[in-house]
C-alpha cells in the first residue's frame, strides 16, 4: 500500500477508542476544523 501523503483522502476505516466508542473515518473529521492523527507504539 502506498504511503498516504499530502492532498490524499484519508482512508475509510472504523476503529474503537480505548473506552470502546466507535470512531468512523472519514466522517469523524467533520466534527472539528482540523484533526491531528498520529500513529504510535508504547511511549512514542
Amino acid at each position: 500500500m502506498a504511503r498516504l501523503k499530502v492532498n490524499d483522502e484519508f482512508p475509510k476505516a472504523q476503529l474503537h477508542d480505548i473506552d470502546g466508542a466507535t470512531v468512523a473515518f472519514p466522517a469523524f473529521f467533520a466534527q472539528a476544523p482540523a484533526t491531528v492523527v498520529f500513529f504510535y507504539r508504547g511511549r512514542w
Binding site: 482540523a34 491531528v36 500513529f39
Partner: protein
C-alpha cells in the same frame, strides 16, 4: 505523546481533535494515558485536562495503519505502525504529514501545532513549518 497534552493550549481553543492510533490493546492505552495524566497533573497543574486533549484509538489488526501505508511488519515486537503524523481537514483530506525516520524523530510540537491551527482556520500550513515525507 505527552507533548500533545502539554501543548493542549494550542489545540483545545481551536477545537482541534488529536487522535493517537496504535496496534496495542485498549488496556495498554489506558495505562499509558494514566501515566501521561499523572505526569501532567504533577508537572504542569495549570494545564486544563477537561476536555481531555487527546483520544487514543486501537487498531489491533493494523487495518487503518496498513491503509495509510504506515505499517512496519518487520519489527521485533511484531506488526506495528511507523511513527507518522497527519493533519487532516474536515473533509478528510490530508493537509500536512510528517513521516518519521525513527521513533525518536517526531515533528516539532510548534511546527505541528502551527500546521494544525492553520488548517483549523481554513488556511494552508505555513511553508516555514514544512512536514516531512
Amino acid at each position: 505523546m505527552t507533548a500533545f497534552v502539554y501543548e493542549s493550549e494550542r489545540y483545545v481553543p481551536e477545537k482541534i481533535q488529536v487522535l493517537g492510533v496504535s496496534v496495542e490493546p485498549a488496556e495498554e492505552g489506558k495505562k499509558f494515558l494514566s501515566r501521561v495524566t499523572r505526569d501532567c497533573e504533577e508537572d504542569r497543574p495549570h494545564i486544563c485536562l477537561d476536555p481531555y486533549p487527546l483520544r487514543l484509538l486501537t487498531d489491533p489488526g493494523a487495518t487503518l495503519i496498513r491503509a495509510c501505508g504506515a505499517v512496519n511488519e518487520g519489527h521485533w515486537a511484531g506488526t506495528i505502525s511507523a511513527p507518522v503524523t497527519y493533519v487532516v481537514d474536515p473533509g478528510g483530506k490530508v493537509k500536512w504529514a510528517y513521516v518519521s525516520a525513527s521513533a525518536s524523530d517526531r515533528p516539532s510540537p510548534v511546527a505541528l501545532a502551527k500546521a494544525a491551527v492553520a488548517v483549523a482556520r481554513g488556511k494552508d500550513p505555513p511553508p516555514e513549518y514544512p512536514g516531512k515525507f
